[in-house]
Symmetry: C2
Subunit: 758 residues, 2 copies
C-alpha cells in the first residue's frame, strides 16, 4: 500500500496570498492620469445590477451548483483534538468500502487545533463519503492545549508551537512602531488616561460556505472555487501540488460572499485536487457550516490597552497602544493602523503581540485589524473627550490630520472626513445628544454616538482588463477578477458602456477565470479601484481607435468625432453619423484593447474615510441595546453607482452591528473545541436587528488615484460602526462599554458595577 502524506500548514499558507502585495523592485508605478471632469451619462447613476435578476431567480451558477459528469463527493476527516500527535492512521477499511474512490492521509505528526484536516475521502455520493470517514482509524496521543488568550498567557501554559520552540507570546512585537518622543508627549499632557478594550474572535459566515471542485484532464487541472482570489488559488495550488501554474485554471462565476476567509488557497482545495488526481474523476468538496466555523479562518481577538495624553484644549500629545491579539495557530491582526494614522498626534508608541492558541488560524476579516483598532481608538477618544469635558466630535476636529502618520507624513490625495463630520452630524441631529451622558430616569434610554474611520481602498497597479470588439458589433469587457458579490459585473459594463457611448446591456462581461487578464485578490476594498480603471483604460483605447475608424468613414478628423447612443458622429454635424455596429463590421477581425490600472504619484497617501453617527436605545432592565438609526457619511472618491455603493454600506453596517452586539466565538477550555459552531448558537445580525441606515456619499473625485478618481468602499462601512454604537451607549447610559460583543449580560453587569443611570 502506498503511503503518501501531504502537508498543508495553514500557518505557512497564509503567506501565499500576501505575496502579491509585495512591491517588487522591477516594477515602477507609472503616474495615473488625472481623472477628467467629463460629464458622465451612466457612471454615477444608480443602476440595477446586470446580474441581479439572474441571482435572485436562482439561475446564477455558484460553486455549490457545479455538477460535472462522474463527479465524486469529497469529505474531510478533521481532528477532534485541540492538540495531539498522530501515532498511526489506517485507511484500508475506508478504501475497501464500495463506492469509495480515493482515500488520502493529509497530515502526520502533530495536529494543533480541533478541526484540522487529517485525511480525506472521495466517494460516489455524500452518504458513502460520510460513511468512509468513520472507517478511517486514527490513533492520536492527546496533548495539553490552550484555546483562550488568557490561558495561553499564563505561566507554564502548554506551548502551542512548542514543537517549534516558540513561545505562546513571542517576545518581539510583530508591530513595533514609534514616532516622536512618547515620554515628552505624556509630559506635555494635561490629562492622561489608560483604558483596556477587548474584542472577541469572530467567525466568517458567508452565505455560501467554502467549497471547491477539482477536475484533471491529463496534466491540466481546472478548479471551480468559491474564492476571493482565483489567481491566488491557482498559484497556491501550483505551490502545494508542485504543478506548473501554467497548467492550472481556476474559475469562479458567482459567489455567496467572501469576507477574507476566501482569500487565497485553502487546504480543502488542495485536498480536492489530490483526491481528483487519485480517483481520476472530478471531486467536489463543500464544507458544512460546522467546518466553516472551525477551520477556514476567523477575525482574531484583541486585548488593547491605550494610554493617551491630551491638553485641556483637546490637543493630543501622546498615544501608546499595547495589543495582544490571538491568531490561533497563526499570526494575529495588526490593529494599530487607525491609531497610527487617523488623528494628529506627534508622539506615538505601538507594540502589538501575537498570542498563539490551539485554535484555527486567523484570516483577514472585512477590515482586518481596523475593526478592532477603531473600536478601541474611538472608544478611547470618547473617554478622553469626557475627561476634558469636550464634545467628542469637536475633539476629533481639533486633531484633524491632513497628512498621514498622524500629521507627520505626506498629504492625503483626498480626505473628505471633515465633510463627513459636517453632513453626518447634521443628518443625525448631533445637537440632540444628551449633554450629560446617561441623563434622565427612564428605563429605556437613548443616546447618540459617532466614530471615524480610515482604510486604504486603492487599486493594484497592473490589474488588467481587455475590451474586445466583435465584427457583429458586440463588445466584451474581460477581466480575471472575481465578483465576490459587490457588483463587479455591473460597473465593468457601466464603465465600458460609458466610454464607448453604449448602454450597459450591450456589453458582455467576462470575469472569474484565470485565463483572463490578471487581477489580484478581491480583498482590501481594492477591486473597484483596480478593475474599473483598467476597464476604463482599455475602453478609452478602443474608443480612440474607433474614432479614427469613424473619422475615416465619415471623412472628417478624428478630433471631430463624438460617440453616443450607439453612434459615432461629427460633432459639428450630428446627422453625419455611422452606427456602432456598422463601424465594427469594418474590422477585419475581432479587435482587442488591453487596459491596466496605473500606478499613483508617490507623494500622496491614498485612503478612504468615513464617520458613522448612531442613535441607540438601551433597555436598562434587560440590558438590550437596539440600534435605531445609522447615518453613514463616506468619502471613497467618485461613486460609480450609488445604488450598489449603498448596498455596500448597508452590508458593512449589518455586519458591524453583528460584531458590536452579537458575535463571538466561544471556546471550551475542557474539550478544546468551538462551542458555538452553528448558526443557532453563533448569533449573527438578521434583518430584524437592522436600524434605519442613511448612507451619505461626500461628493469627491480623488484627483490622483486613478483615471476615474474612485476609491474602495468594501471595508470602510464595516469599521467605525461598533465604536459608534459603544459611544452612543455611553451617551445613553453614561457607561463606557469596552468589550464587544456588547451583549445584554455585559450591559447589565456594567450597570451593576458602575452604578450608572438606570
Amino acid at each position: 500500500m502506498r503511503k503518501k502524506v501531504y502537508f498543508i500548514e495553514p500557518e505557512d499558507s497564509t503567506l501565499l496570498y500576501h505575496e502579491e502585495y509585495r512591491d517588487k523592485k522591477t516594477i515602477k508605478p507609472e503616474i495615473a492620469p488625472e481623472p477628467k471632469k467629463d460629464k458622465f451619462e451612466i457612471i454615477g447613476q444608480s443602476t440595477s445590477r446586470i446580474d441581479g435578476r439572474r441571482i435572485v431567480t436562482g439561475r446564477a451558477p455558484f460553486t455549490h451548483d457545479v455538477k460535472l459528469r462522474g463527479m465524486l463527493c469529497g469529505k474531510i476527516l478533521r481532528s477532534p483534538h485541540a492538540c495531539a500527535d498522530i501515532i498511526s492512521m489506517n485507511l484500508s477499511k475506508a478504501r475497501d468500502l464500495p463506492g469509495v474512490k480515493a482515500v488520502l492521509q493529509l497530515k502526520e505528526g502533530r495536529v494543533k487545533y480541533a478541526g484540522e484536516q487529517v485525511a480525506a475521502v472521495a466517494a460516489k455520493d455524500e452518504k458513502t463519503a460520510t460513511e468512509a470517514l468513520k472507517l478511517i482509524e486514527v490513533e492520536y496521543k492527546p496533548l495539553p492545549f490552550v484555546v483562550t488568550v488568557e490561558k495561553a498567557m499564563e505561566d507554564g501554559a502548554p506551548k502551542v508551537h512548542g514543537d517549534r520552540d516558540r513561545e505562546n507570546v513571542p517576545r518581539k512585537p510583530f508591530n513595533d512602531y514609534n514616532r516622536g518622543d512618547i515620554e515628552k508627549g505624556f509630559n506635555e499632557a494635561e490629562v492622561v488616561i489608560e483604558r483596556t478594550y477587548k474584542t472577541a474572535v469572530e467567525i466568517h459566515h458567508p452565505a455560501e460556505t467554502h467549497g471547491s471542485v477539482a477536475r484533471w484532464e491529463g496534466d491540466r487541472l481546472t478548479v471551480w472555487d468559491s474564492t476571493q482570489s482565483i489567481f491566488g488559488v491557482r498559484d497556491g495550488l501550483a505551490y502545494w501540488l508542485k504543478v506548473p501554474a501554467s497548467r492550472i485554471k481556476v474559475i469562479k462565476k458567482y459567489m455567496g460572499g467572501g469576507f477574507g476567509s476566501k482569500l487565497g488557497i485553502n487546504d480543502y482545495t488542495v485536498a480536492a485536487a489530490l483526491l481528483a488526481r487519485e480517483a481520476k474523476k472530478p471531486v467536489k468538496i463543500i464544507l458544512s457550516r460546522e467546518e466553516n466555523s472551525l477551520c477556514v479562518g476567523n477575525r482574531p481577538s484583541s486585548l488593547q490597552t491605550i494610554k493617551g495624553g491630551v491638553k485641556k484644549d483637546g490637543t493630543l500629545t501622546a498615544l501608546h497602544l499595547k495589543n495582544y491579539t490571538s491568531g490561533g495557530i497563526g499570526r494575529g491582526d495588526r490593529c494599530a493602523e487607525p491609531i497610527m494614522d487617523v488623528y494628529k498626534c506627534p508622539n506615538l508608541k505601538v507594540e502589538e503581540y501575537t498570542v498563539y492558541t490551539n485554535t484555527g488560524a486567523s484570516r483577514p476579516t472585512r477590515a482586518p485589524g481596523h475593526v478592532q483598532g477603531t473600536f478601541a481608538l474611538e472608544g478611547f477618544m470618547e473617554e478622553l473627550a469626557n475627561e476634558i469635558n469636550m464634545d467628542p466630535l469637536e475633539l476629533r476636529k481639533k486633531n484633524y490630520a491632513t497628512k498621514n502618520r498622524g500629521g507627520t507624513g505626506i498629504p492625503y490625495s483626498s480626505k473628505g472626513l471633515d465633510k463627513c463630520y459636517e453632513l453626518g452630524a447634521e443628518k443625525i441631529g448631533w445637537k440632540r445628544r444628551n449633554k450629560k451622558p446617561g441623563q434622565g430616569n427612564r428605563t429605556v434610554k437613548r443616546g447618540l454616538g459617532m466614530a471615524s474611520q480610515i482604510w486604504w481602498g486603492t487599486g493594484r497597479p497592473g490589474t488588467s482588463a481587455d475590451i474586445k470588439l466583435h465584427r457583429d458589433g458586440s463588445v466584451e469587457a474581460i477581466c480575471g477578477t472575481q465578483d465576490i458579490g459587490c457588483g463587479t459585473r455591473t460597473y465593468m459594463a457601466t464603465v465600458a458602456a460609458e466610454t464607448l457611448g453604449l448602454k450597459p446591456e450591450h456589453i458582455t462581461v467576462k470575469l472569474g477565470n484565470t485565463e483572463y487578464p490578471w487581477c489580484g485578490s478581491s480583498g482590501g476594498s481594492t477591486t473597484t479601484p483596480s478593475v474599473a480603471p483598467a476597464v476604463r483604460d482599455a475602453a478609452l483605447k478602443a474608443a480612440d481607435y474607433l474614432k479614427k475608424l469613424a473619422a475615416n468613414e465619415l471623412k472628417i478628423n478624428p478630433e471631430e468625432v463624438s460617440q453616443k447612443e450607439g453612434k459615432f458622429f461629427a460633432r459639428s454635424n450630428p446627422k453625419k453619423s455611422i452606427p456602432f455596429n456598422e463601424l465594427l463590421g469594418e474590422l477585419r477581425r475581432e479587435a482587442v484593447f488591453h487596459g491596466e490600472c496605473s500606478g499613483r504619484p508617490s507623494e500622496y497617501a491614498y485612503n478612504t474615510f468615513s464617520a458613522h453617527f448612531v442613535e441607540v436605545e438601551v433597555d436598562t432592565d434587560t440590558g438590550q441595546i437596539k440600534v435605531l438609526r445609522v447615518v453613514a457619511a463616506h468619502e471613497s472618491g467618485r461613486i460609480l453607482n450609488p445604488r450598489t455603493a449603498e448596498s455596500q454600506v448597508v452590508g458593512g453596517i449589518t455586519q458591524g452591528i453583528s460584531t458590536a452586539l452579537l458575535e463571538g466565538r466561544i471556546m471550551d477550555n475542557t474539550t478544546g473545541n468551538v462551542v458555538n459552531r452553528n448558526l443557532r448558537d453563533y448569533k449573527i445580525a438578521t434583518t430584524l436587528d437592522m436600524p434605519e441606515i442613511i448612507p451619505i456619499f461626500v461628493d469627491s473625485i480623488d484627483p490622483y488615484i486613478n483615471n476615474l478618481g474612485t476609491k474602495g468602499l468594501g471595508e470602510p462601512p464595516r469599521i467605525p460602526i461598533s465604536g459608534a454604537i459603544a459611544n452612543a451607549v455611553y451617551n445613553a447610559i453614561g457607561i463606557h462599554l469596552r468589550e464587544i460583543p456588547m451583549t445584554p449580560d455585559k450591559v447589565l453587569e456594567a450597570l451593576k458595577t458602575e452604578g450608572g443611570a438606570g
Copy 2:
C-alpha cells in the same frame, strides 16, 4: 403548437468562412522583419510531437469524446429526395415519444439535394433519437432533378435553382481572366493542341466524422466542434442564431482531420445549438459516415479543356482554359490558378463556369481547384512536350517564371522550384525514364513522370499569440488556433522554447478556444506561417523583457545578456547567471506578451512550390496502376520541424494517390442519391497502396514573408501528385490518361481504344 422554421442554406453559408480573406481598407499590413540568420538550436530539428503520446494512447480528447452532464443525443432528418417541395411536416408523434426532449423543423419550401437537413431531434439516447426521426412525418412533392454535370448541361434539363430563376450553367463565368493577346499568341505558335481533362467529385473523409456539442448557460453558448475554424464557427453561429458573438465560445482541442469540409460553420452545428436551447440541455450531434458522404461538402468535379500554343523550342505562346465545374447546389472550384501562374506565358485566356446539380454543395478540399487544375495543366505540359519531342522537364525549365502571372507580374519573394527540379530529378533518376513512352513488350511496364505545383501558403497578418510568464517559472504559449492534426502544438512549443532558451517541454501550449488570441481558419496552408511568426513575435518580446530584468539582476547591460538552457547569463562571463525560474520569481505578477503575424511587403508574390517525381508500374493485363516511388521536392521556406513536415508530405501524397487512382463519388441518376456513401464502396488509399516516399526540402528561408521565413506545407504535397502519376503512366504505356480516378477499367479501355503498348 409553436411552429418555428430555421433556414440554413449551405449555398449562402459558404460565404461566411470566406469573409476573413477579405482585405479591409482599414488594416494596413506592416512590413515583416527580415528573418534573422540566427543559428537555431531546436527550430529546424526533427522533434517528436509533444502531443503524440497522448494521441496514440487514446487520451487526447476529440469532439467525439466530449461527454457533458445531462447531454442529449441529437440526430438530423435528411431529405431522401434530390429535389422536392415540403408540403407539410408533422412533428407531434416524435415529440410525444418518451425520452425525446426537442424536435425542430429546420427547413420549409424546397429541398435541393438528397441529404439536406429538414428536421432534428434531441433525445436521451441514440436509440430514442433514431426512433424519433422515424416518427417525423414529412409530406414531399418530388420534383425533377439532375445530379450529374452532363445531364445538367443538357437542353431542357430541370433547373437546380429554377426557383431563383437561375440557369444550371450561369452565362457569366465566375472566373474570366485575360492577359496579353490570345489570338496573337496562337498565331505565334508553331504547334497548337487542345485536350480535355476530367476530374471526379471527391468526398471529404476525415478519420473523425463531423460533429458538434452545444451547451447553453443562460444566454451564453459554448460549442465543442470538430472544426478547422473555431472563430468562423463562432461568428457563423452568431449570424445564424442572432446571438452576439461575444456570448459564444467555441472549443476544439483535438481533431481527427479536416480537409476543408470543417472550415467555418456547418448546418448541423446550428441545429445542435437550436436543439440545446429548446431542450435546455447540452446536445451532441455526431454525423455518420453516410451523412459525411452526403452533406458536408466535397471537391467539385471539373471538365477542363486546354488549348495551348508552343514554339518548337518549347516557348509557350498562348494558353486557353475553359472549365466547367460542379459545386452541387453551390459554386464550383476555381481551377485556373496553376495555369495563370506557374509557367511563363504572356497570352492567356481563362473561362470558368459553375454547373449546378442537385447534390450537396461543394466545400474547399485540400488544395481546392489546384488539384484539378494541376492535373490538367501538368498533363497538358506532358502532351505538349511529346508533340515537340522535348523532355517534359526541359519544357518546364524553358518556361520557368520568376515573376507571377506567368512572368508578367511581380517577382516571387522566393521560388525554389528550379532547385526542386534539380534535386528531384537526380533522386528519382530522371535519366532512367523511357526515351520512347510505352517502349518494350513486357506486360507490366514501368514509367517515370513528374509535375510541378504552385500554391499560396502565406500567413494571415493579425494572427495573434500570447506568451505568458508565470512567477513559478512556467510559461504558456497561447493562440486561438486549432491544431487540425498537423502538429501546431509542437511548433508553438518549439518556437517559444527556442526564443526563450528553454526546452519545448517547458512550454504549456494552449489553443483551440475562441477566448484565446485571434487566429483565422486552418485552411489554405496558412496555419504554420500565421501562428509560428505570431508566437515568435510574442516570445521575442518576452525574451527582450527578461533580458532587461536579468541585466538588472546581474548588474550588466541588457545587450550583454544571453539566454540558453534555462539560464540567463553574461555573454562575456557565462558563470554570471540567473536561472530562468528564479528570474520569473522576480515578477510581481504573471506577465503577458502579445505577438502578431506581421504583414508583408506588397512588391513580392508569396507562393510555395514543389515538383513531384513518380515511378509507376502498370499491369497492362489488369489495368492496375501501382505507384512505386515518389520523390517529393518541396520549397516552403524554412522547415520548422522536418519530421512533422515529412508527415505532411506523406499525408498529402497518400490523399493524392487516392485521388489519382481511387476516389470518385457515384451518383444515381434515377434516385438522385449518392451510390457509394460508405467506405466500403467509396475507396480511399490505405497503407497497402503506399509507395516509397522520399521528401526533399529545398534549403530556403523566405527573406520577406515573416520573422521565421517559413511558408505553408499543408496543401502543396496534395497538388502535383495525380498529374505526375498520369505522366508516369504515359511514360510507361504511351497513353495519356485524361480522367481521374485512373481506375483499371479506364486504363484497359484506353489501351483498347488507343491501341497503346501492351
